[in-house]
Symmetry: C2
Amino acid sequence: METLILKGNIVHAPVFGELSCIENGFLVCEGGRIEGVYAQLPERFSGAPAEDFGGALVMPAFVDMHLHAPQYAMLGMGMDLQLLEWLNTYTFPAESKFRDTAYARSLYRELAAELIRVGTTRVCMFSTIHRESTHVLMEELERAGVTGFVGKVNMDRNSPDFLRETTEESLSETERWIRECEGRYANLRPMLTPRFSPSCTDGLMRGLRELSQKYAVPVQSHLSENVDEIAWVRRLYPDCAQYWETYDKFGLFGADTVMAHCVYSDERERAAIKERGVYIAHCPDSNINIASGIAPIRRMLGEGLRVTLGSDIAGGARLSMMDVATEAIRTSKRNWLDTGKREAFLTAAEAFYLITSAGQRYFGAGPGFQKGDRLHALAVSDAAFTHTSGLTLAQRLERMMYLSEARSIVARFSDGKRVG
Amino acid sequence: METLILKGNIVHAPVFGELSCIENGFLVCEGGRIEGVYAQLPERFSGAPAEDFGGALVMPAFVDMHLHAPQYAMLGMGMDLQLLEWLNTYTFPAESKFRDTAYARSLYRELAAELIRVGTTRVCMFSTIHRESTHVLMEELERAGVTGFVGKVNMDRNSPDFLRETTEESLSETERWIRECEGRYANLRPMLTPRFSPSCTDGLMRGLRELSQKYAVPVQSHLSENVDEIAWVRRLYPDCAQYWETYDKFGLFGADTVMAHCVYSDERERAAIKERGVYIAHCPDSNINIASGIAPIRRMLGEGLRVTLGSDIAGGARLSMMDVATEAIRTSKRNWLDTGKREAFLTAAEAFYLITSAGQRYFGAGPGFQKGDRLHALAVSDAAFTHTSGLTLAQRLERMMYLSEARSIVARFSDGKRVG
């Protein structure tokens, strides 16, 4: 079994809110899996090849638990609009272009390269309704070294003609796509992706449940993002007291489900999220850009909910999870002020946990660098920053997150291999 | 008189909230001053040398109305603390190092180069209490092409021993510095800089007023940033009903004054700001990073106050005014939500006005590219971004601000000259 040793300042977050730091340490991998983290290299590895990253920090690669691949083309635009208007003006027209696989190839290749550049190696991602372009996306991610889950989007109502499937088509294309994925990708798996309940008929939801059971495919969608959206869901589902029930009634709200946003999830909805073991993808940059609101994630964390972070491009304007981490901190500071300083803001160490360890859990990995997990790691250098002497590793990590210069990432490892 | 013609997509903001866009236009300068902006080059300039920036946007360079030069060394760190704690733990020790001019030289050279890299050519800046290092800062700014105002800081109480002057020393060093500045810098001028009222005795404030009158030097300071700070000011000045009066009573609150923050300026304080013609330097990134609060700038703008933007590094973690602009938008969206959608959030065009035209006014220039003003301009390319075809110049500008890649700035002009 091949041994790989990364030498550098090891920084990871095995425990929420605590950094584990080893100056001039060693991260040992065997056969693509983490064997251990050491202050002194054990004798038995002394002959193995080592990559020495000098003063750089060696940290887990980032996990982005919610983003829309096709919206990469509209990154940083249309920010003067709110959710529903923004969907109709920018998003739906942008997504309709993906019937063209050549366009998809060109855009998705750029996106995949950019994800690796900014240090993201695990994702839960939305594609569009188009089966073929979804394969193109998965091919490009795999080629670049991005791993995780991709969803062909389902939408058979309340969507423009140019971006709506019939129920039958939506289900048959989805099933065909799931089958085509079998054995085709080493590190990418399909995820059922009803866009959000307003865009899916009951028949579609029921069909997705069947597919989910038949093929053991997990689910991702959106939940309680925006006040107008929630009011609309209430009108569409008079039988459901709350938004989460529109998924739950179809069996699409379980322990392998990722729900983006949850800005307005109240006590009862949060209790359901907790009871079902649903993962929350908190998307602070998006939530503020399209003026949805501020999710009370300190409360969610305190209640033991599984909070992770997502860039949610292109509601979010930043692909780098370091930017998303500091935006989560900024957002939490506003929440701290808004709650009369009752709900503490996120610390830098906590935000770092959320973009690494919290998401790793969804992928079956332990927090931080844990023995037996596949290696997903970055070496990040602050040599270009000014005046590093005398700083602790925790201070240097905080500065890296705030300054968020992708150029400072000098090496990326995904699923045990160097990818950039 | 030397003529210089910049060819490209001209985008500027002569009116708040409106962009003026000329595709493939011409910006003509004579002797370092703007002569005009044209869709077609007038015959009389046909023989003059032109720089063709192709598809790039040619826009005014940015104005940063509030930042602390010495804190550049601590950029992106210490963000888990609030103002007063943050000052004592990080800021004061960092500033005390500037008694060493060699250290100052090295740090300020980096800062000046970075300001130009991110497109900022006009500043109102704090140095430290040290006269010599303040000259070093001015020399390095001038060498790099940054213009504007720099202040040797005054503080003679409520400050650590290692960063406190006697009243006499503070005044004599300040006067000596003002005199030394005469004729020494082409484009940098001194600004009186009482740090904030808690760190200045009445005697110091009175002395600064005399210097301000004797040498016609403008004033900058901090106002109503943080709740604890305001409570402290109230205890220190039982004779003043409000914070602004602690400056006003010493004649340091006039039409050439820049006050940073004004987060908690209520109706009465805002009326005083308006009446005196004081400039507000709104610093949204800093205000949220050190958890001060959200300034109601829509209200201020509506009331006709002179609102400008500042990076306020290192409370702010970002030197780029494009980042500050989008953070101002994000902050205003929270304010919009907090006010039940009564106070509209900033649009991209409005934020662009605030980082260009609004600050230009303080420097005696008109809004946008105005005839007769010294040329401060950037050429910004989005060639490296994905899929530009079909976008309007307004959309491209919005994307540039949100993605804020300093590498996309391909040329900088300051005071009529190319500087990067």
